[in-house]
Amino acid sequence: MSQEIAHWLDNLLEEIEGIEIRRKSSRRVRVDVPADALPALLELLQGRAGYIHLSAISCVDWIEDEEFELVYHVWSYESHSLVSAHIRIAREPGVYLSVYDLYQPAAFFERDIHEMYGIHFEGSPNMDKFILTEWDGPPPMRKEFDSEAYINEHLSWQAYNPPWLQALIAEGGGVVIPPEEQRFSRKKD
C-alpha cells in the first residue's frame, strides 16, 4: 500500500517543472524546486495529495553561496508521510513570498524566520518582532553575526581558574582545550 502511494506521489510531483525528487524512505521525500515553483508545488500537495499540515519552515544560511535555503515540511495524515520541499533564494535582498494563503500556520514560522534571518515574506500578515522583542541588533541567526564578538562587547566571561585546576594543569592534565582556543576557533582559519 505505502509503496503504491509513494509511486503515485512521485508521478504527481513530476508535473512540476525543474523538480528533483529524492526519496529517503517510503515515508519521507525530499524535493528540490526552483523558488518560483514552490507555491504551485505546495498547492498540488495540499489540494491533491492530502498534505494539509505544514509542520515547520526551516531556514539555512549558506553564506558562501550567498543564498538562503528554505525548507517547507508538509505532512499528510492519510499516507503518514512527510515531504520536505527545499528552495534557495538569493541572500540579497532576501525576499520571498508568503505561503500564508495556503497554510495559515506559516504566519508563525515566517515571522520567526524574519526575526532570526531578516528574510522578508511578502504577504505575510505580521512581520513584527516576535520573541526578540527587546533586541535591536542584527538578525542573530545570520552567519555574519558574530556571537562571540557581541559577547565581548556587552557581557563578560567568567574567569575560572581555581587553584586545584592550576595544580592539575601543572601536572599536564586539566582542561583539554583551553577556553580561549575554544572560543575563537571559528576565526582561526
Binding site: L132, T133, E134, G137, P140, F145, S147, E148, Y150, I151, H154, L155, S156, W157, Q158, Y160, R183
Partner: protein
Amino acid sequence: MSSINQIPVIEAKKGNPLARVFDELVRFCRSRSLFILHYCTGCGAIELPPAMTSRFDMERLGIQPMVSPRQADILLITGYVSIKTLKRVILTYEQMGSPKYVIGICSCTVNGGMYWQSYATAKKLDEYMPVDLYIAGCMPRPEAVIAGLQQLMDSIHAGKANSWEDYYRNYDYYLGNQQKLFGDNWQTPTDVIAEAKHYNLLSKGTLGVHTRLLEQHQQPLEALEMRLGHNLKEPTE
C-alpha cells in the same frame, strides 16, 4: 614595642549585653523560616519539584515556596538567564524585602554553562545582583540543592550571609553593568537609593557615574491603570 600605648587594645563593645543574645535569636529564627521564590528561568527548574515534594521534602528544613517577591526571602534562579529574563529577575530582586538572599542554581548562572557562546544569555549573574551561593551542575540533583540551601541556612545563622547589603553599598557598580547591557535608559520601579538610606547602608559605592546617568534618564513612575473586569478585553491602544 617600646611604649605601652602601642599595645593594641580591643575595646569592648558598649551597649546592651542582651543585644547579642537577641541577635543570635533573630538569626536563628531567620535561618529557620525561609521562603523561596523560585524564578524558573531555565531547565534546572525541573529539579525543584522533587526537592519540594515528598521525595526529598525541603519543607522539613523549614524552606517553603512563596508566591510573591514581597514575601520571599530567597530568590532561587534556576538556570540560564536570558537578557530579557534578566530584566525581570532584577525587578523581582529589587522588590523583595531585605534581608534577601540569591541562589544561582546550575552552571549557566555561574559562567554561561553550555550557552557560553550565546548572544542571548548573561554569563555572570553576580555582575547584576549579589549572589550568596552558587550550586553548580548541569543540572544539580535535589540533594545538591538541599545541601546548598542548608549551607545558606548555616551562613545566615552565623551572620555571614550579608550580600544583600552589597547591592545597596555598591549599587553604582551593579547599575553600571545593567546599563551596559540594557542601555542608558534602563530604570526599575524601585528606588534603590532611598532604600539604601532607609537601611542606613548608603556608602561610597552607592552613588556614582551610573546613578547620575539614571537620574538624567529617569522618568517618573505612573500608577497602573485600574480597570474593571469587563473592560479587560478591550484592545489597549
